[in-house]
Amino acid sequence: MSVTAYLVLACVLFAIGGTTVLVRRNSIVVFMGIELMLNAANLAFLAFSRMWGTLDGQLAAFFVMVVAAAEVVVGLAIIVSLFRTRRTVSVDDESLLRH
């Protein structure tokens, strides 16, 4: 299969992730959208790595996985602490800070 197919898939995943971030209200689902965007980047890295025949892209994918794991730790900690306070994870309810 040509590299293009993987790149198209990466773009589609990135777009789905971005749309999820924009339209979903549950902050956990928003967070899932962000993870999808990161994984889309990983897929693009791997496809390009194959295309150029260098290992840099694969190396990058490993780093991104570790960073994404760290991000999950921080993100879920924040979301859980908010849930315990307000009994909701909807981003629409987070509206105390306004002009």
Partner: protein, 531 residues
């Protein structure tokens, strides 16, 4: 295999020392949390983190002043993922200076023992557990290692030589800040909300940055900035892909500096985060992120200058205009300074997008002085607390109504804050004026009249809202009806904040009255060399 180990052994560890000291102290701080008895933890953490930042700053300063080291910038690590050229050293110095002052404000507490952070971050606001934690005098000392981790990331960010290192540094500096934003002692709901907003938007921006890195890698087959720079010179027929990648990377970086249209997090996070943290991140994140942006624009894609300049001009102009216009109507002092920070990002961008050495020097000088003044300004805000009718001290008084007549209640603090406002406004004899003059002169010199004129107009409008605060503090009468939550009064603390404010004030005035030597120093160091 042997060549890799040779490269490892022949690393110039001395040049890496600032980053190693700060990150090492951060790891040690985590161990302190585990092994040091609770009573001793706070002093140990404070001393450890202050020493680490001072040591890192001194080592950087020594390297920056050493002509040999300055002349021969090197790449570090076997994969050559860091470069310590003069610009990186200068920005690391700026980060260390602002982080040191920021840490002093963070470490301070009132004479009653009230610091800026919640006694127990895991407790639910308003719960019995939180009350018990407060009565037991618990302290959330994890703050210090988190600040050090963030500082370590900020030291790496402007020195990154490839996109992968840049991404890792971006996350290392961001993740602790997301947490720190949510730890305020007072108004915890606002603080937690700020934390969530910062996290969701920041993580999205990181994803854009990363996706951009992937496309740039695809277009050039390289991750190092130099390699990409060389490839972009020769047209490979991949220009559209490269351009998309570069734009996505710029989106991620412009988010971090708080440029319009990627600024929406700034006011909320600046307002909700604990004030000492706001000062720290306002100053240091801006320095580090502009460093990375400069590196991407100047050493990675100089050949794309013609393609991305229009977009960057638009962003710079929008940033200045939105920052000032929306800032005028703010009623909360922290929120107002957040919009002021957005406007300042626009002024600095003006120097950046000229793509000249004058513009570079101006931006670097601006970043250094703005960082110090910002920490000082937020340090003053951290000291102004609201006092209710019975004389009980509560959270910070951030509403502008509560600042009415502050000049009579706390004349010294009010005067000092007025000077910081004057430097933000860019009034002569303050460092803000010199910085503004340097970037606008560079813009006009390069024929960027539109940028320069918009910048001047915005400075004039912005001066209005800074002066409004001064008028409110010194010349406004008592409010007709008492301000909600009680009036703001300067509070007595253990003195660390006062030290930070004094240093920031002296720096602001000295660099405003005799800026020549420091401009020369900046000019010497405003050099990007990617070996």
């Amino acid at each position: 295999m042997s060549s890799a180990s040779d490269a490892f052994l022949s690393l110039d560890w001395g040049r890496l020392a600032p980053v190693l000291i700060v990150l090492g102290a951060a790891v040690a701080g985590v161990l302190v949390e585990a092994f040091v008895p609770r009573k001793a933890r706070r002093p140990v953490q404070i001393i450890l983190s202050l020493l680490a930042v001072v040591a890192a700053g001194l080592v950087t300063l020594m390297m920056a002043l050493d002509p040999d080291k300055r002349a021969v910038p090197i790449s570090l690590s076997s994969a050559q993922s860091l470069t310590l050229d003069p610009m990186a050293m200068y920005l690391q110095l700026a980060v260390c200076a602002s982080a040191l002052l920021g840490l002093l404000v963070i470490a301070d507490r009132t004479v009653q023992g009230d610091d800026a952070f919640t006694p127990q971050a895991a407790s639910v606001p308003g719960s019995e557990y939180e009350d018990q934690a407060r009565r037991a005098g618990l302290v959330q000392t994890d703050v210090y290692p988190l600040v050090l981790f963030a500082t370590g990331g900020m030291l790496l960010f402007p020195a990154a030589r490839d996109l992968l290192t840049m991404f890792v540094a971006l996350e290392v500096l961001s993740l602790p800040l997301y947490l720190l934003s949510g730890l305020a002692r007072h108004r915890r709901l606002l603080s937690q909300e700020a934390s969530l907003k910062y996290f969701l938007l920041g993580a999205t921006a990181s994803a854009f940055f990363l996706f951009g890195c992937a496309w740039v890698y695809g277009a050039t087959g390289q991750l190092t900035l130099t390699g990409i720079g060389l490839q972009t010179g020769q047209h490979l027929g991949m220009d559209p892909i490269l351009l998309v990648g570069v734009i996505l990377i710029c989106v991620g970086l412009l988010f971090k500096v708080g440029a319009v249209p990627f600024h929406s997090w700034t006011p909320d996070v600046y307002q909700g985060a604990p004030t000492p943290i706001t000062g720290f991140m306002a100053a240091c994140t801006k320095i580090a992120a502009f460093g990375a942006l400069l590196r991407v624009l100047y050493s990675m894609v100089p050949t794309l200058e013609w393609d991305i300049t229009p977009a960057l001009w638009t962003v710079a102009i929008l940033t200045m205009v939105v920052g000032t216009v929306v800032g005028v109507v703010q009623k909360d002092i922290k929120r107002m300074l957040a919009y002021s920070a957005i406007a300042h990002a626009g002024f600095i961008l003006t120097g950046v997008v000229t793509f000249t050495s004058e513009g570079l020097t101006g931006s670097l000088f601006y970043l250094f002085t703005y960082g110090l003044a910002t920490v000082g300004g937020f340090g003053v805000i951290a000291l102004i607390r609201e006092v209710d009718a019975e004389g009980h001290m509560r959270g910070e008084a951030t509403s502008l109504d509560q600042w009415r007549g502050l000049g009579r209640r706390s004349p010294v603090l009010a005067s000092v804050f007025a000077i910081f406002l004057l430097t933000f406004a860019g009034i002569p004899l303050t460092s803000g004026f010199v910085g503004k003059f340097a970037v606008f002169a560079a813009a006009f010199g390069e024929g960027a009249w539109a940028l320069g004129l918009v910048g001047l107009a915005c400075s004039a409008v912005a001066a209005f809202f800074y002066f409004r605060v001064i008028v409110v503090m010194f010349f406004a009468g008592e409010p007709a009806e008492p301000a909600r939550g009680g009036l703001g009064v300067g509070v007595r603390t253990q003195g660390l904040t006062q030290v930070a404010i004094t240093v920031a004030l002296i720096a602001t005035l000295v660099l405003g009255i005799v800026p020549g030597w420091f401009l020369d120093f900046t000019g010497d160091l405003s050099l990007l060399v990617v070996p």
